[in-house]
Symmetry: C2
Subunit: 352 residues, 2 copies
């Protein structure tokens, strides 16, 4: 996606850009998931190309539209690269890199081998990626649709499942049946485990009370992320009220997203909606989503990001009462003229 | 593991070490998988402690033996850290970091905020981790045992599975039933897909011919990694001979591992064993395994590593004839007085 726009940025700031795996921008620009060693070269004025190791070459060549070059010996990669630049008459006095993805060790090697001036383009990449193209939106929509279907399958058999791990196993299994992978390790947190937003799913009997199901799929390189909280046992009036409190905060936040609004303002209004439970809302209201499950914008009290048309992000308020319970409700939202919710699973409290 | 040894190294080279997620050493020293933002502080002379964000705090405190401190605002983390160092009277003139895991962007922020001299300890960490403790070996053995069981389950129903993705779904499902996660995305490569060592598992009918099944599990933070190649259809005499060729190279390599031997020598002898097919062996013979599925040593023609007692690594020769087929056989091996194979699944060619 947007490889031409990126090339324009490169031409304004440097002679060539070097993007090295692990860096999700390599896959983003190649419009394919790229595993293993891979280096995307974007010269200011010549055609971009991808360098992979010999063992990834055949597959990359099949999948990617750009020219693909293979090489064998990783340790000599920088010599190989310098010679290639010279042979292809690609200038490399000024090199654009993504300092957020590049490790210090690799960067120091780059500096030694190429003796160039390096320009960080991580902010440009962030901005490029936070607004999605039509094709990206289609893929994210498809990923969201799959997670809705997977969730529905798993909720249908939920009462037969015994442990948090069972739920995780079924989610993955059904995602695979819809040709998708997981976008992150699912969080299944029942009973008091729910009070830990990043609870590690356990192989213990599902506990009574609220149960948070937070998962996502990755389809053709694009992620979804959805959370529903169900109830195991008989909810008291107070439980229902707390669930409605979080749900109101969530729907209210979605409704109020506006172009140019500061993301942190939306977060703050969600905290206010949660009233005295606002103090138990201990994470950001949401995050951009695309090739990475977490990307720009950040919707947190510390963010300086603003909402833009074409952004896709989660809205996921939650309350976490230490050692007692947790409730979180999360959807993926696309901001067009108005916000549009891409995950469509019901948000009524389901009781098992 | 080995936190004390690491502290000794820190005390020789610096005042304090700062290890920041994503860096598998954080989880390694905490003896737990640590997700999300986390920073391990190892002072030369005071007790090490972990800093996590508020949303991971409750869980970290439950799981980890070290002191855990929480903080909220990521952007102000370095101010928080500096103040903490001063309050606790921890010197930070010389700071040890892992330059292989630290991104340039974070490192530049560290340099600005702490105005210290930084010492890279990535090589020390590599050496510390490549030789396993008894407890680590037990966990890796357990992970290997689980992958044997999972493989057996899946081979039992293999003839009923239609696609490569079906195989992947079943592998994951059964790993979960044994309380494990996957250690990497499984590679299921049938027919001509087998010629791509990193083939992306496809949702298409399993093709006739060799089918590579390469997967691993992660159990209590430790990885396994195993490959078996089965045959779909009726193998010709030549197919059986090729399978035996790879199998001989693999068992021969395992038998010949010796303490102090250069890893690249073992690789070269495996290439020789493959005779005229040696040119189709396009990756390294193996890699260390532990908290990470790929760690030191590297068993490749370009490696300068040597085998040491207590190392755990894979031995996985393969041949990949472009556009035609692939065969790979992989085990996890522990080097004690003699090499001991930890994955025990049968290596006879199974035909479906």
């Amino acid at each position: 996606m947007k490889l031409r726009q990126f090339q324009t940025i490169v031409s304004e700031k440097a002679d060539v850009a070097i993007l090295l795996n692990p860096d999700s921008n390599v896959g983003y620009f190649c419009e394919n998931e790229i595993y293993g060693f891979a280096c995307l070269i974007v010269p200011a004025k010549k055609s971009p190309f991808l360098i992979t190791s010999l063992l990834d070459y055949e597959q990359a060549k099949e999948k990617i539209k750009l020219e693909v070059i293979s090489f064998r010996e990783k340790k000599r990669f920088l010599n190989f690269l310098t010679e290639l630049f010279k042979k292809r008459d690609i200038k490399f006095k000024n090199i654009a890199v993504n300092k957020k993805a590049l490790s210090c060790a690799v960067f120091e090697n780059l500096k030694k081998a190429l003796k160039a001036k390096f320009v960080d383009v991580s902010d440009d990449l962030k901005k490029l990626r936070e607004v999605k193209t039509r094709k990206e939106i289609e893929l994210i929509e498809k990923a969201c649709r799959i997670s809705d279907k997977v969730l529905s399958k798993v909720l249908n058999i939920f009462s037969r499942l015994r442990t948090e791990t069972d739920v995780e196993a079924e989610l993955f299994y059904h995602a695979k049946k819809y040709f998708a992978d997981r976008s992150f390790k699912a969080i299944i947190a029942s009973g008091r485990n729910g009070s830990m937003p990043h609870h590690t799913t356990k192989n213990k009997r599902l506990q009574r009370g609220f149960c948070i199901i937070d998962f996502g799929v990755k389809y053709k390189g694009y992620c979804s992320d959805i959370t529903r909280t169900v109830f195991i046992g008989k909810p008291r009036k107070k439980d229902k009220e707390l669930y409605e409190l979080v749900l109101d905060a969530q729907t209210h936040a979605i409704k109020n997203v506006k172009t140019d609004m500061l993301c942190k303002e939306l977060h703050k209004s969600a905290v206010r909606m949660l009233k005295e439970y606002g103090k138990y809302f201990i994470h950001g209201l949401g995050h951009g989503i695309g090739v990475d499950v977490h990307e720009s914008p950040s919707i947190s009290p510390f963010s300086e990001d603003r909402f833009k048309k074409g952004m896709v992000f989660t809205i996921e308020p939650g309350i976490y009462v230490p050692h007692r319970f947790g409730i979180r409700i999360e959807d993926v939202v696309l901001l067009e003229k108005r916000p549009r919710v891409l995950t469509r699973s019901s948000k009524e409290l389901i009781v098992f």
